[in-house]
């Protein structure tokens, strides 16, 4: 059973959010990286671009496929994890921490209300598996 840290929020698109004031650090969950397999590269927005909730903010290339990254929040990108350029493997090995992707200045803090806590995300995953 995967462990999803309690200090993060989670989207239904398998993206986590760490909130500090009006800043949100964003990455993909351990489950997302497991479904992807070995990550080869990531395409992220540049600093000072806008990302929009429920719209793609980038993409990840993995073995035999790519996955769109869906933004959990609307806001301005103020930082991008440049460590991923040198070592993309941390998306697989440490997705909830050093494998973070972008930091966003949140436009509307109310959008956080639609995100799940770790328990809610866990339940969501179970529902998703049973969906068919």
């Amino acid at each position: 059973m995967k462990v999803f840290p309690d200090d993060l929020l989670y989207s239904r698109e398998h993206v986590w959010v760490r909130v500090e004031g009006d800043l949100a650090t964003i990455g993909i969950t351990d489950l997302a990286q497991e479904k992807l397999g070995e990550v080869h590269s990531v395409e992220l927005p540049e600093i000072d671009t806008e990302v929009e909730r429920d719209e793609p903010f980038g993409a990840i290339e993995a073995a035999k496929g790519m996955v769109e990254l869906i933004s959990p929040l609307t806001g301005n990108v103020i930082n991008v994890n440049e460590d991923l350029i040198d070592d993309i493997g941390i998306v697989n090995s440490d997705p909830h921490d050093t494998g973070w992707m972008i930091v966003v200045e949140i436009n509307d803090l109310d959008e956080l209300d639609d995100l799940l806590d770790s328990r809610g995300y866990h339940d969501f995953i179970l529902q998703e598996v049973e969906g068919e």
């Binding site: 497991e34 479904k35 397999g37 290339e61 496929g65 790519m66 996955v67 769109e68 869906i70 068919e132």
Partner: protein, 269 residues
């Protein structure tokens, strides 16, 4: 289980092919429509490049222009594929469709296994590659067929089909190209690198890639191959495939994507 949709074989212009696949994918993603299998060909020669490929570094655009080869970016990942005499497939479904395991590679394997069965029915001893490079990582060559990767179809150790997947919002699209015949010279002309001697690269492709008509007589038609593959999907997955066309929503989205996305190689996701 509800019937799946089969969009039967038809040839389309290159950009339209990509727009159709993405339109179906976006509609399945949005509305949870039926899992869909589409088989298609290309009305004119084309090179499709993967979502992450750099067209300037990996495709010889002047050679493509000179040879009348359209370059189109795929929504999926992977490397460049030269389309001329190939049968292309797309499988589109929700990720939680019970047949498909959760990971990209496992789903890839499940689809590949059906293709293996389809080729077996035609009398071809195809197997899945048990090892190989991961595209984009080890090989500098822009061509998809240059080195087989894990779970890809091989006949007598040579690659015959290349596939790649994309996922978003709980749905996936897998596209693949099954070679009816193979033209290593043309593949070399349109894909990079041109650094090493062309003859050596052509020879390497000849050794690594095969096609249906290297092993089967020309009396086996594209229609025969389609039937065999469709039968393998139905038998392998125990699903019923009902022939259908695009919905009005998919048609409208296809037209929109053709105008906004597939006329321009530079688009990003």
């Amino acid at each position: 289980m509800a019937a799946w949709r089969l969009v039967p074989f038809h040839r389309y212009p290159p950009r339209e092919n990509m727009a159709i696949d993405e339109a179906i994918f976006r509609e399945v993603q949005r509305s949870g429509g039926p899992p869909t299998i589409r088989l298609y060909g290309w009305l004119s020669p084309a090179v499709s490049i993967g979502h992450f490929q750099h067209v300037d570094r990996e495709i010889d655009l002047p050679a493509c222009r000179k040879g009348g080869v359209t370059v189109v970016r795929r929504p999926t990942g992977g490397k460049a594929v030269y389309h001329d005499d190939d049968l292309t497939y797309a499988v589109i479904a929700r990720e939680n469709t019970s047949i498909f395991p959760p990971t990209i590679l496992e789903t890839y394997q499940v689809i590949s296994q059906c293709l293996v069965q389809g080729l077996h029915k035609l009398g071809l001893e195809a197997i899945l590659s048990a090892e190989g490079r991961m595209p984009g990582k080890d090989s500098l060559d822009a061509s998809c067929f240059f080195v087989p990767s894990l779970h890809e179809l091989l006949v007598k150790g040579r690659k015959i089909c290349g596939s790649a997947q994309m996922r978003s919002r709980g749905a996936f699209l897998q596209q693949g190209s099954l070679l009816m015949s193979f033209n290593p010279e043309k593949t070399c002309d349109v894909t990079m690198p041109h650094g090493e001697p062309r003859a050596r690269r052509v020879q390497a492709l000849r050794e690594k890639v095969t096609s249906l008509y290297e092993h089967l007589p020309r009396s086996v038609t594209g229609e025969d191959v389609c039937k065999s593959i469709i039968g393998a999907f139905q038998d392998g997955w125990g699903v019923s495939l009902a022939e259908g066309s695009l919905t009005p929503g998919e048609e409208a989205l296809k037209d929109h994507l053709l105008e906004t996305r597939y006329g321009d190689l530079a688009w990003e996701s």
